[in-house]
């Protein structure tokens, strides 16, 4: 045996390296911001473009980058072997523990939102929007998080669901509750249809094909004018009713029937609970499926496709069911979107929607149900918070994403809890294999 060499990695303070690091950071910042921030463009009185240099702001940004680079060089020194600076173990543990009690508390809070914020229409609308994205995130989580199939065209199923409801309701007068399953099934069907050609693809290739699929659906919606109304969209989509009782100020309306004073908020509250119920349904189904052989097969597929096949799993079916399930929930969310808006057009179903939902899943920590909720809340809430600083909104958003990916490269909630535990000590009987709650 040869003597093994020991490579010492000590955190030596190397000022030159740190300085170099800082210069590189500053140069990068300069390159990035020179035009973005260093020069401000305004429309002059004559209609021409006026350029105002802002060297001060630019200088501050470059200085920040320089100091940041220097500090990083000094603090982390030569320990380049660390792939990413992580949160300390204690913080991670706390985060994980809080996570366990967090879910029930969050649910209770969600149920109470319409009561707490009854008079705040803005909050109610925002919560409905967040819940819609939570539902979309959970739906996509089945495909991306569990089955590991990178789908960049998820918005296609959202669109199919929305247009299914809109067209069926406006043309045939079916109610929301009748249309909901139909839209789900139609989206599901498109999911399978997309699934077939991409069965052999993985990773990047799959991503590109699904991206194209999303665009195809959008272009069809724009160009098939006779059916979809083209770019003008579908107006006058019926609002949901409370088991047949419409939310209006008239005789047979919700308020009159229950002897209440008419208020537009009733409908909003109702919509809130509808999307909450739909989202919880998605979550419940996902958690149930994860414990069944099919859910286990999805996760195994994400880990190793070849091993799956040699263990007797028909990976074709497993992939198709993942696509179909994900698409179905996307379709549900789509018809909810249509009934909430009352008007839909292809503009609501662009790639940026797919990207947003995917970002929610990835930031949440692929496969984590709670992570999706947190990520959706943080992202949509963040969008709203920074609405006033419109010009810095995307900058802050981008920085936040980078920060999360640096500190928690596997997403906010990266720990995956097994779907099954064994109660032991007395030997195992078939009934003793207990399944863990999501």
């Amino acid at each position: 045996m040869r003597g093994s060499r020991i490579i010492r990695v000590k955190p030596v303070l190397d000022l030159r390296a740190a300085l170099k690091n800082a210069v590189v950071a500053a140069a990068t910042a300069f390159g990035l911001f020179a035009l973005l921030i260093g020069i401000r463009t305004d429309q002059g009185p004559s209609g021409g473009l006026e350029l105002t240099p802002r060297f001060g702001t630019l200088g501050i940004l470059v200085a920040i980058a320089f100091v940041g680079g220097l500090l990083r060089g000094i603090l982390f020194g030569e320990r380049r072997i660390h792939i990413a600076p992580r949160l300390p173990a204690a913080a991670t543990a706390v985060l994980d523990r809080v996570g366990r009690m967090f879910a029930p508390a969050l649910l209770a809070f969600a149920l109470a939102v319409p009561i707490l914020f009854y008079h705040d229409r803005y909050i109610l609308d925002l919560s409905i929007q967040i819940l819609t994205y939570v539902m979309l995130g959970w739906g996509l989580n089945i495909v991306v998080g569990l089955a590991g199939l990178l789908d960049l065209g998820y918005v296609a199923f959202y669109a199919v669901g929305a247009y299914s409801y809109a067209l069926i309701a406006t043309n045939f007068g079916l109610s929301f509750w009748m249309c909901l399953p139909i839209s789900g099934i139609l989206a599901c069907f498109w999911g399978v249809l997309l699934g077939f050609p991409v069965l052999r693809l993985r990773g990047d290739y799959l991503a590109i094909v699904t991206l194209a699929f999303g665009e195809i659906i959008r272009l069809v919606l724009i160009n098939w004018q006779s059916v979809t109304g083209g770019p003008n969209g579908v107006p006058g989509i019926p609002r949901p009713s409370f088991f047949g009782i419409p939310f209006n100020a008239e005789e047979g309306g919700f308020a009159a029937t229950f002897g209440l004073e008419y208020s537009a908020t009733y409908r909003i509250v109702f919509l809130f609970y509808v999307i909450l119920a739909l989202a919880l349904l998605t979550n419940w189904v996902t958690i149930r499926l994860r414990r069944l052989p099919i859910g286990r097969a999805w996760e195994a597929l994400r880990e190793d496709e070849i091993a799956c096949r040699s263990l007797g799993i028909n990976t074709t079916n497993v992939k198709l069911t993942a696509f179909a399930m994900g698409a179905m929930f996307g379709g549900f969310a789509g018809s909810f979107f249509a009934t909430r808006q009352g008007f839909i057009s292809p503009e609501s179903f662009t790639f940026s929607e797919s990207a947003l939902v995917l970002a929610i899943v990835v930031l949440g920590g692929m496969g984590s149900q709670l992570g999706v909720v947190i990520a959706a809340t943080v992202m949509l809430g963040g969008f709203e918070l920074f609405r006033e600083f419109a010009q810095y909104r995307m900058l802050v958003f981008g920085l936040a994403m980078v920060a999360i990916m640096v500190w928690r490269p596997r997403g906010l909630i990266a720990t995956r809890s097994p779907s099954v535990f064994l109660e032991r000590r007395k030997g195992i009987e078939p009934g003793l294999v207990r399944e863990e709650r999501g």
Binding site: S310, I313, V420
Partner: protein, 254 residues
């Protein structure tokens, strides 16, 4: 061809082999990896396949499972032609494999990995089979809820074998079960294989670099060179052959 091979004492002579390969050729793209391989594995035997790196041993294991598919020749298992069956259907015929590289589901727990192994088995066997695996590899019981990817190499190897056994196979294919293991563990794994073969009449076909151990364990062995079988005989015969000794046991532990 097969007349040249000497069936083991235990094998029922003249009967059909459990697994039979005839003139099997397999390709990666246009590169040929198996150039016409004949192999017989009889019920109740342990058969070892040895050969240098890149000889095509792992390819052979995978070709039995249809990936890559045999482009020429026939593969028959238990009297049924499986040459053109899809991989997952082959697995349902009760052939199981602990493949090269182990292919553990890294983010899933040990228990979940074992559950995946039981995909083709009767669900009612699960608890009993789990107990058998714990008896065979007590280490797995201790690590039951640990993520597969965080197990040590040896533990992963045990898990890969246990996962394959959860299917209650008639034939177990093992690709380098001793790879990267300490001598004590190698002995433990080989003992486990012998025990399964004796007590449960499990038929085993294994690929090994550890030629000495493998040929001592096996009833019969095959030597593969560049995609072709060049030598075959009982384990003891092969161990005595000078060409085997020089090529695979050089500086050996015999």
């Amino acid at each position: 061809m097969s007349a040249a091979s000497a069936p083991a004492a235990e094998a029922v002579q003249g009967s059909e082999p459990l697994l039979g390969l005839r003139g099997v050729k397999a390709f990666y793209g246009s590169i040929i990896a198996l150039k016409g391989v004949d192999i017989d594995v009889y019920d109740g035997e342990i058969v070892a396949l040895i050969g240098a790196n890149g000889a095509g041993k792992s390819t052979l294991m995978m070709t039995i499972f249809g990936n890559p598919r045999a482009r020429e020749g026939r593969i028959v298992f238990a009297g049924r032609d499986i040459t053109d069956l899809p991989t997952h259907e082959i697995a349902h015929l009760r052939i199981a494999q602990a493949p090269e590289g182990r292919r553990i589901f890294a983010r899933m727990s040990v228990l979940e990995n074992l559950q995946m192994g039981a995909t083709t088995a009767e669900p009612t066997h699960f608890a009993e089979d789990l107990e058998r695996m714990f008896a065979l590899f007590p280490r797995l019981q201790e690590r039951l809820h640990q993520r597969g990817g965080t197990l040590s190499g040896g533990e992963q190897q045990m898990l890969a074998i246990a996962r394959a056994l959860m299917a209650r196979p008639r034939l177990l294919l093992l690709d380098e079960p001793s790879l990267g293991l300490a001598p004590v563990l190698v002995k433990q794994i080989f003992d486990a294989i012998r025990q399964l073969n004796r007590r449960e009449k499990l038929t085993v076909f294994l690929v090994e670099q550890n030629a000495f151990h493998a040929l001592k364990l096996a009833n019969r062995g095959y030597v593969m060179v560049n995609g072709l079988i060049t030598l075959t005989g009982t384990g003891r015969e092969l161990l005595a052959r000078p060409e085997v000794r020089s090529a695979y046991l050089e500086g050996g532990r015999a």
